[in-house]
C-alpha cells in the first residue's frame, strides 16, 4: 500500500465516482462526478473501471504527495499547469509519483474540475455502492466531506506499468443542448426568451446547482408547483426568474417549474463552463437527444480502446502544447513520468 497525502487543496474538491443510484425514492441524490467523461478518461489511463472513485479537483491550486511508496495517477478534465518537482507533465496521460514526490496543480483554465485518477482507485467503504461525497447526507469515503489539507488516502502501490496516453478530443464549443420540458408549458413566450438569450453561470454556483445570469424568465401561473422529481440537468426557474441548472448534489424533488433539461452528452461540458463566460442553450428534439445519448454511451464504452502506450504517441505532444503546459524550451522529459522525447 501507498498513500496519497493532500498537501494543499482549495474548496470544492472531493472524492467522486459514478454516483450512487437506487435510493432517489428515499431522497438520496446520486452525487458523483460533475464531468463523467473526464472521470472516465482519467480512470482509463491507469487501468481502472470507468467510474471508479477519483479526486474531483476544484478550480484552485492543489498539491498531492506520494507517501509510503510510489503512486501512479492520471489527470483529465479542466486543463491547468501541472508539474512534478518543476518537471511539467501532461493531461490525458498517466504518470508515476515516486515516494515523497509531489504533484502540483495550478488554477483550472478553461474549465472548473479536473480529475485525478489513482491506479487501483481510492480505498474506502462504499455506501450504496459508491464512495462519492455527499456532505449533506454524511456520505462519502474515506472522508464524508470535501477534501482538506492533511487528508491521506490509502491507495495501491504503483504497478510500474508503462505509462499510457489517450487520444481524446472532448467537444468544448457550441451551445448547450436541451430537451424542453417537463414544465415548459408554464412559461409561454418566455420559453423563446430562454432559448434566444445569452447566459452566464453565477459565481455562487456549486455542486447542487448552477445559477444562471441573464434575462428574467417569467412564469405564466406563478412559481409554485407541487414538487416532482428532478434529474441532473433539470433547469428549474424559481420566483425571481433566474434559472438554476440542477447538478449531481441536487435535491431529489423540487417545487419550481422546470423549463428544460440539459442532455446527458452536454452535462459535463456544461459543468466545466467557467463562471462569467457567455453561452447559449439550443433546443433539440427528443429523437435527436436520444441519438446523442446513445452516441455518448458508445463514446464512454469505447474509451478504453483509445488508450495506448505513451511513447508511441505523437498526438500527446500536440495535446501538451495546445494545453500550453510545456514551454518550447522543454525538450526532454523524465522517462519515468513522461516518455515522449520532444525535439527542438
Amino acid at each position: 500500500m501507498s498513500a496519497l497525502v493532500i498537501t494543499a487543496i482549495g474548496p470544492a474538491s472531493s472524492v467522486q465516482d459514478g454516483g450512487r443510484f437506487g435510493a432517489q425514492r428515499y431522497g438520496l441524490v446520486p452525487s458523483g462526478a460533475m464531468d463523467r467523461l473526464a472521470l472516465a478518461a482519467a480512470n482509463c489511463l491507469v487501468g481502472n473501471a470507468l467510474f471508479a472513485a477519483a479526486i474531483e479537483v476544484g478550480p484552485l491550486g492543489t498539491t498531492f504527495t506520494a507517501r509510503e511508496g510510489a503512486v501512479r495517477v492520471a489527470l483529465a478534465g479542466a486543463v491547468r499547469s501541472v508539474d512534478i518537482a518543476k518537471r511539467p507533465v501532461a493531461f490525458d496521460t498517466s504518470m508515476t509519483l515516486a515516494d515523497g514526490e509531489s504533484l502540483n496543480l495550478g488554477f483550472a483554465r478553461g474549465g472548473t474540475f479536473s480529475y485525478l485518477a489513482i491506479e487501483g482507485g481510492v480505498q474506502g467503504e462504499p455506501m450504496f455502492g459508491s464512495l462519492a461525497v455527499n456532505a449533506r447526507a454524511g456520505l462519502g469515503s474515506p472522508y464524508p466531506r470535501p477534501l482538506q489539507t492533511g487528508d491521506k488516502l490509502q491507495v495501491a502501490a504503483a504497478s510500474g506499468a508503462v505509462e499510457r496516453a489517450i487520444d481524446f478530443a472532448a467537444v468544448t464549443e457550441g451551445p448547450i443542448r436541451v430537451v424542453m420540458g417537463p414544465q415548459d408549458d408554464e412559461f409561454g413566450d418566455a420559453t423563446q426568451l430562454f432559448l434566444d438569450s445569452e447566459w452566464k453561470i453565477s459565481a455562487t454556483s456549486d455542486r447542487m446547482g448552477y445559477r444562471l445570469e441573464g434575462p428574467v424568465i417569467k412564469h405564466l401561473h406563478g412559481h409554485n408547483i407541487v414538487s416532482d422529481g428532478t434529474v441532473n440537468g433539470s433547469i428549474q426557474v424559481p420566483g425571481n426568474g433566474a434559472p438554476i441548472v440542477l447538478m449531481p448534489d441536487r435535491g431529489t424533488s423540487g417545487g419550481y417549474p422546470k423549463i428544460a433539461t440539459v442532455i446527458t452528452a452536454d452535462l459535463g461540458r456544461f459543468a466545466q463552463t467557467p463562471a462569467g463566460r457567455a453561452f447559449r442553450f439550443k433546443a433539440i428534439s427528443m429523437a435527436e437527444a436520444q441519438v446523442e445519448a446513445r452516441k455518448f454511451a458508445e463514446l464512454l464504452r469505447t474509451l478504453p480502446d483509445r488508450v495506448h502506450d505513451a511513447q508511441n504517441s505523437v498526438l500527446d505532444i500536440e495535446a501538451l502544447q495546445s494545453a500550453n503546459v510545456a514551454g518550447a524550451a522543454v525538450n526532454a522529459f523524465d522517462a519515468r513520468t513522461w516518455q515522449i522525447q520532444v525535439q527542438d
Binding site: F21, G22, A23, Q24, R25, Y26, G27, L28, M127, R136, A137, G138, L139, V179, M180, G181, P182, Q183, I225, V226, S227, D228, G229, T230, V231, G233, S234, G251, T252, S253, G254, K258, T261, V262, I263, T264, M286, A289, Q290, E292, A293, R294, A297
Partner: protein, 243 residues
C-alpha cells in the same frame, strides 16, 4: 374499471427520464395512482428502467436510452398507468413519537394563535390524524405525509428558516412532514421526534416507504431525550403497528 382511468401526461425530463404526471395538484387519488404504478413497476420490471421516484402527483422514471426509447417506454407507462388501482398500497402502519411544543416545536404557540385555538388542541388534532407517506424527497428521509385535516392547513412561512433541527415534525399547506436531517424549511415547526427516517449503518437505512401509513403519539421532553439516545445507538424507536 380500468376504462374510467384517464391517461397520465407523459412528460420528457431530458433524454434519460420520463415524468408520468397524474395531476398538477396535490391529490390523494393521483398519489394512489403514482404509488400503484410504482408498485407495478417494482413487481414487473421493464427492461431499461433503472430507478423510479414517486412524488405526490407524478412518477419519475429513470431509464437507459440505449436499452429502451422514449416513445416505447412512454406507451408502456401509459398502458400500465391505466390498470385498476388497488385500494390499499401498503399495509404497514407506523406510530411516531413526537415531543410537541417548547424548544422542540417553536411554532406551536403561533400556530394555535393563528388558528384561534390552544396549543393542546393543535397537538390533539395532529395526533388524531391518519396519515400516509405521499413521497420522500428533497433530502434523505424527508417524508411528506398526506391526510392533514383541513383545520390545520395554513400557508407556509413568508421567510423560510435556513436551519431547522433534525427530526422536526412540521405542517405546511395541506401537508405534514417528518424531516430527518437538519436543514432549511418554510414550514411551521410543531415538535421533534427521535425517530431517524434515515440512518446509516442501521438496518433498514431508510425506515419509511412511500405508501406507508403513519400516526403520531405525544411524548414529553424527557421521553424524547431517552428515545433520542436509543435512536442514536441504532434503535428504530418508531412503533410498527399491527396492520
Amino acid at each position: 374499471m380500468a376504462a374510467t382511468l384517464s391517461p397520465p401526461r407523459i412528460l420528457p425530463s431530458g433524454d434519460s427520464a420520463i415524468t408520468v404526471e397524474f395531476s398538477r395538484n396535490i391529490d390523494d387519488d393521483a398519489n394512489r395512482r403514482v404509488l400503484a404504478l410504482d408498485r407495478t413497476m417494482a413487481r414487473d420490471a421493464i427492461a431499461g428502467v433503472t430507478e423510479t421516484v414517486p412524488t405526490y402527483r407524478s412518477l419519475l422514471v429513470h431509464y437507459d436510452p440505449v436499452q429502451i426509447g422514449f416513445e416505447e417506454l412512454g406507451e408502456k407507462l401509459t398502458a400500465l398507468a391505466q390498470l385498476p388501482v388497488p385500494p390499499t398500497i401498503s399495509t404497514r402502519r407506523w406510530c411516531i413519537p413526537v415531543s410537541y411544543g417548547g424548544e422542540h416545536g417553536i411554532d406551536l404557540e403561533d400556530v394555535a394563535k393563528t388558528l384561534n385555538t390552544t396549543p393542546d388542541d393543535i397537538v390533539a388534532r395532529h395526533v388524531a390524524g391518519d396519515y400516509r407517506v405521499a413521497m420522500i424527497g428533497f433530502t434523505p428521509g424527508w417524508s411528506y405525509l398526506s391526510g392533514l385535516e383541513d383545520f390545520l392547513q395554513m400557508p407556509r412561512r413568508q421567510n423560510p428558516r435556513l436551519l431547522t433541527p433534525a427530526g422536526t415534525i412540521s405542517i405546511g399547506g395541506v401537508q405534514t412532514g417528518v424531516q430527518c436531517l437538519a436543514g432549511p424549511s418554510g414550514w411551521h415547526l410543531l415538535g421533534r421526534t427521535a425517530v431517524r427516517t434515515y440512518q446509516l449503518h442501521r438496518d433498514p437505512i431508510f425506515l419509511l416507504e412511500p405508501g406507508d401509513a403513519v400516526m403520531f403519539s405525544a411524548v414529553d421532553a424527557k421521553t424524547f431525550a431517552e428515545q433520542d439516545r436509543a435512536a442514536e445507538s441504532g434503535e428504530i424507536v418508531a412503533e410498527l403497528m399491527a396492520s
